[in-house]
Every structure is written in structure tokens, then in C-alpha cells.
Symmetry: C2
Subunit: 373 residues, 2 copies
């Protein structure tokens, strides 16, 4: 299976010299441009931007998003919220059906005292448990109900949303809104527009159901980078894209976005050419991760080796198949790999090498790396 | 596609109470039994055991392997060797074609002064670069030449091994031996015996070629958990299995090993049952990783939910499809997930919850987590 036409157009960030590969390199000029572009897009629609921090897991980038106009941050786990709070974030939404028992209940109460906190819920049981966890707490998070718009992962259905809203009220928690994630956009480029429409229609149906049951909400939140770009506003008040901050191969191919906006690459060294027909890089699954949608061939793209395919990744090896007409690289060559999906890549490294004009200017810790709960 | 018969027999380690899921739980009694079993197997064959540390990335477990009789440790990257040296290891083999420039050359020289170090090489260029990196160094590592026994990843061919040996001699480095990795065993249960035979025959051919060119070597090293179990000794002097220390779903299915030997599980909470037909766990790709060989269905196995399949994993969600006849779990239930491949799972967490008799006794840091270079 050939690589896509769009792969061939991807321009990797320039790598600084002297890297101890594999290392993850981030072009800060491109990051700032990506942040400004998404902010302007949503500003023009009158939709708030609440970026998902799971992509960068770092207050360094969150601060740039907030300074550019984001209303707050989104996270998946309490650990990310804790790290963002440490870094100065004041408004955090945990877009996840939090099950608040034991240590997690204690952490939730502590967080609610530190930031303007909101949390997700998608069931009567989850709402009741939140109520128990927060009983008597001085600071109570707002709650958003998750509805499923076709991804089939989490989220109740619009016809059950009022039942969950009643459970939230019974738990004496403030109901702020509804949210969804049109993650089925990631099933292929042909799914993006439909997923964006599904988000809108599902949220509209949920709003109607809540209205019929006399619940009023303020926030109507959708999100994912591909659908945020495609969606029109109505009835959405807020978008939660994450990946746009760095971009990746998947986003270029999903959205046909400008392939010179990809801000992150994994620098890798060719460590072997011993097996004929290919070469092996020192960035394996523990650097590139293993995310590979069925509609993309290979485990990332190597712009310096046009037509090359990363056919398999082992923990510390990437096996690259080279086209016959390409002069093979030499052992010791350093190349940039643009990963398929950037989020798990960042989660595998302790630090990012941040560059300006192709030169390393600082190392930024991935402060929430490893915060899985 | 149904799960395998062997999946149904896997007995997960018991989970302690009060976990803040997802957490990675390790049954130390099973670990010690796994270490003792592999050591006895190789002792009986007169083959040295040099366990690969990439599975546990931790001096805590390395010390137990060494105390049980291992002759030294194997690693893939210098960072793992540095952490093992910090933890007291005295003999470490970097089973990887190290390309020693810049910072890596400096680290290599430092390591050679701290431990009995040996490194891999699979090319004339790599040997020459090692020579340049170590020129004038007081402590010089021994070198082992990697040969490819059918995995098609790294390793020269037996008919070029003498050429690489001459380059090692030209670089004024001591040649200790040859090594291979029959990783094609992982392509399916039917490949294991063949891969073990391939390791033996390829190493024998490499030895013959070296002998014909008047090179004498001491170490003939093969390895991978499935082939270490299957291989007979001749001409192998050393095995480098890693995964056996914890075991995983893949090993049970590859080798038909005792399914009550799996020592590691990811504890996960059911956070949603909102979408009909299944449930969602809070251990996603950032806890379970995404390793899924084509011959196994799903992203791990859940012994408490017989017949359930983890159909997809997102960063913080695992979507589970439940068989019609299984009573569905409730939101809040905690289950043990036995991962497909244990190595990347350990690499995603900062700490392991170590248990004895089902009770947590200590938290062990994954000290070399994130050491990708």
C-alpha cells in the first residue's frame, strides 16, 4: 500500500544539531502559529476555545494557549488538572466520566479548592457518586453531562440526558452543560464532516431534552481537532481540540491541513542498514508509540526519505522499508519522523527539545507525563 | 473473532483494595517463581541467563534476577544501563547496534568505567565509530556482533560477520562473541520452534565463519522469552529473555505457558456503561499501550469478564465489548486487565504496586522509564 499524497507534502520541523537521539523536537514558531490560527478561527465564530492538554501535558504550552485567548483548559484525568493547577491554570474541565471514590474523591475535593473546576458525568450512578464524594465540600465543581454523538465510547444518549441531569441535581451539584466528542472523525478523512454534524445534532437534541425537563445550561461543548475546524457554531458554545497545538501525520491526512504546520518530530538515528532493502532507526515504539489507524500505512512519515515506510516498530527499533529508487541513508544519518498521532508520543518522553529557527532554545518538561489517573 | 482458549485460562494477579486506578499491579510471589523457573531451566542446560531489563526497567527486579543466578543484565539503550549501574549492576550488555557519537559517545565511555560493559554492533561503520568514540579510553567495552536469524530487523548475515569482526579488530576493541534475537517467534505460536532453530543455526553459521577467519569468541548469545524456553543449548552459551519476569497474554498464547504465572495486571475501573453492549475502563492506551499482534484479538484480556473483548483503546479509555450472556459489570467495578505485551505497559507508569498474597507491600519505581536513548 503506498503512502498518501499528503504524506509527501509534509515538511518536518528542522532538527537542531547534537541531539542524543531519539529526542522529541518541537518548533515553537509553528506551535505559536497553530495556537493563533485555532484561536482566530473560533473567535470568528464566537465559540470559546478550551484546549485539551493531553497533547502537550505541560503548563508551558497551556500558558501560551491561555495567553492567546483560551477560556480554560480541558484534561482527561485529575493528574493532568493537578499539574496544570501547579502551573497556574485557573479553570479546568475534566472531560471524563470521573468515578470519584477513595483517593480520587480526596483529590477531586482538593482540586475544587484550587481551580474553577468542572467535571464530566454520563450516568446516574456517576452523578450520585460525585455527590457522595463532594458532600460537605466547601468548593463544588460544576458538572457537564457527556452525550455520545456516534463515537460509541462514553456518553449517554439524548433521551436519557434529563435522567442524568436529575441525578446531578439530586447530588446537589451545579449543572453547567453538556459535552460530546466526535471521535469517529478519526476513522478516516471521509468521516470528519459527518462527525462534526453529529456533534451538533446530538448536542442540539440533548439541549432540547434538557429544556423539556426544565434544565437550563450554559455550556455546549464539542471537540476534537478535526471537527473543531469543520464545525459551524450552532448550538456549540465551546470547542476542546488538543492535537492542533502540534499537529501530526494523522491530522494532515484527515483535514488536508497545511503540511508545513506540523510542529513536532521525533529525531532518530539510522543505526543499521544490515538487512537489505531498508534501514533501522533508533526511535521505536517507546518513542513513536504504536498508533496506526487502518487508513494510514506505516508508523509515521520520514520527509527526508520520500516513499519510505516504517513497516514495524519494536520497543527501540523502527524498521523502514525503502523504495528501490531512493539512495539508502547511511548508518549514523539523523532524520525527523513525523508521528501518526502526537499525543502518545509526548506521553513517552520526559522532556521536549524546543526550537526557534531550527536551533534548540530550551528543554520543556512534559510535566504531566505518567499521570494516568 | 473469538478470544483464544488460552485467554480463558489466564488467572490474573489479585488486586489489592483502595487502588487509584489505573495502576499497574505486580504479584511478587509470581515474579520470584518466574525468575526461579527460568534460571533452573537454563541451569539444567548449562546456559547462562542474562535477562533483558527492558521489561521491568528497574534495579529492584534486576537484583532479584542476579541473586537467583543471572550472570549479568541485558539492555537496549545506554539509559537503562546507567540506571542499572546506579542500582548496583556490575555486568551489562547493550544488545543494540550502538551508534556512538556526541553525547552518546561520552556516556558510553563513562559507563565503561563503571561496569563490565559489552555492546552490540552489526556493521563495519558501527565498529569504526565505536573505535573513534572509545579511542584513548581507559576502559573499553567488549563487542558482540549481531547476526540476523530471520527477524529481518538488525544484524548482519553470517557471510559478512568476519568482515565486521575485522572492523572490530581494526577499532582495537575486544571481540567477545555473536548474538541474535529470534523475534520472529512473536509472529505467532506456530513460529516459535522455528525461530528457536533459526537462532541456533544462524549462530552456528556465524561461528563457523568467524572460525574460518581465525576469530575466536567466547559468547554465543540468543534470546527472547519464547525461544529461550524452546531452544536446546548447542551452540548457545547465553540466553537474554526479558518478558518471562512478568509474563503477559502474548506469552501465554505463544508458549502455552502456565496461565497462573502472569505476574502483572493493570487495575482499571469501569467508568461508563452508557453505550449499550459494553463498558468502558479507565485504562486506555496510556496504560495498556497499543501492542496487538495480528494473531490476537483485542487489547488485553479481562479474566473477571470471560469472553469480553477490549475492542479499542483511546488515550484514557478502553472500550469493552461484552458477550450477550455475561452479566454486565457496574460503573465503579474494578477489574484486572492482563496486557497483550507487558514491556510497553511498564514503560508508561512511574511506579508499580507490588503485592504479596494479594496485599500491596511496596511501590517500586520504574527507574529507567523514559530512558529512550
Amino acid at each position: 500500500m503506498p503512502l498518501t499524497d499528503l504524506d509527501g507534502s509534509i515538511v518536518a520541523p528542522r532538527l537542531p544539531h547534537g541531539l542524543d537521539t531519539p529526542e522529541v523536537v518541537v518548533d515553537l514558531d509553528r506551535v505559536d502559529a497553530n495556537i493563533a490560527r485555532m484561536q482566530a478561527l473560533l473567535d470568528n465564530r464566537g465559540v470559546a476555545l478550551r484546549p485539551h492538554a493531553k497533547t502537550h501535558k505541560s503548563p508551558f504550552f497551556a500558558r501560551r494557549q491561555l495567553a492567546a485567548g483560551a477560556v480554560g483548559m480541558t484534561v482527561a484525568v485529575l493528574g493532568e488538572a493537578e499539574v496544570l493547577a501547579d502551573g497556574g491554570a485557573e479553570d479546568v474541565f475534566v472531560a471524563y466520566p470521573v468515578w470519584a471514590v477513595g483517593e480520587k474523591a480526596r483529590r477531586l475535593r482538593a482540586l475544587a479548592g484550587r481551580v474553577q473546576l468542572s467535571v464530566g458525568v454520563d450516568s446516574v450512578e456517576g452523578a450520585a457518586q460525585l455527590g457522595r464524594a463532594l458532600a460537605g465540600a466547601a468548593d463544588r465543581p460544576e458538572v457537564l453531562i457527556e452525550v455520545d454523538s456516534g463515537e460509541g465510547r462514553t456518553g449517554t444518549s439524548p433521551d436519557r440526558v434529563a435522567e442524568v441531569a436529575r441525578a446531578v441535581a439530586d447530588a446537589r451539584l451545579p449543572l453547567a452543560g453538556v459535552f460530546t466528542h466526535g471521535g469517529h472523525a478519526y476513522r478516516g478523512p471521509e468521516r470528519v464532516s459527518g462527525a462534526a454534524r453529529d456533534e451538533q445534532s446530538t448536542l442540539a437534541a440533548a439541549l432540547a431534552a434538557l429544556d423539556a425537563a426544565d434544565f437550563e445550561v450554559r455550556v455546549v461543548s464539542a471537540g476534537s481537532t478535526p471537527t473543531a475546524v469543520d464545525a459551524s457554531a450552532q448550538p456549540i458554545t465551546e470547542e476542546r481540540p488538543g492535537t492542533y497545538v502540534f499537529g501530526d501525520r494523522q491530522q494532515v491526512n484527515l483535514r488536508g491541513s497545511d503540511p508545513a504546520t506540523v510542529a513536532l518530530a521525533v529525531a532518530a538515528t539510522v543505526v543499521s542498514t544490515a538487512v537489505p532493502g531498508g534501514c533501522v532507526l533508533d526511535a521505536g515504539a517507546k518513542a513513536l508509540a504504536k498508533d496506526k489507524p487502518g487508513w494510514l500505512d506505516g508508523h509515521g512519515v520520514i520527509p527526508a526519505l520520500p516513499g519510505a515506510t516504517i513497516t514495524s516498530v519494536y520497543d527501540h527499533h523502527a524498521v523502514v522499508s525503502l523504495p528501490d529508487d531512493l539512495p539508502p541513508p547511511a548508518v549514523g544519518d539523523v532524520v525527523a519522523v513525523v508521528p501518526n498521532h502526537v499525543c502518545p508520543v509526548v506521553n513517552l518522553t520526559d522532556e521536549l527539545v524546543v526550537t526557534r529557527d531550527g536551533a534548540a532554545v530550551q528543554r520543556v518538561p512534559v510535566a504531566a507525563r505518567g499521570r494516568t489517573s
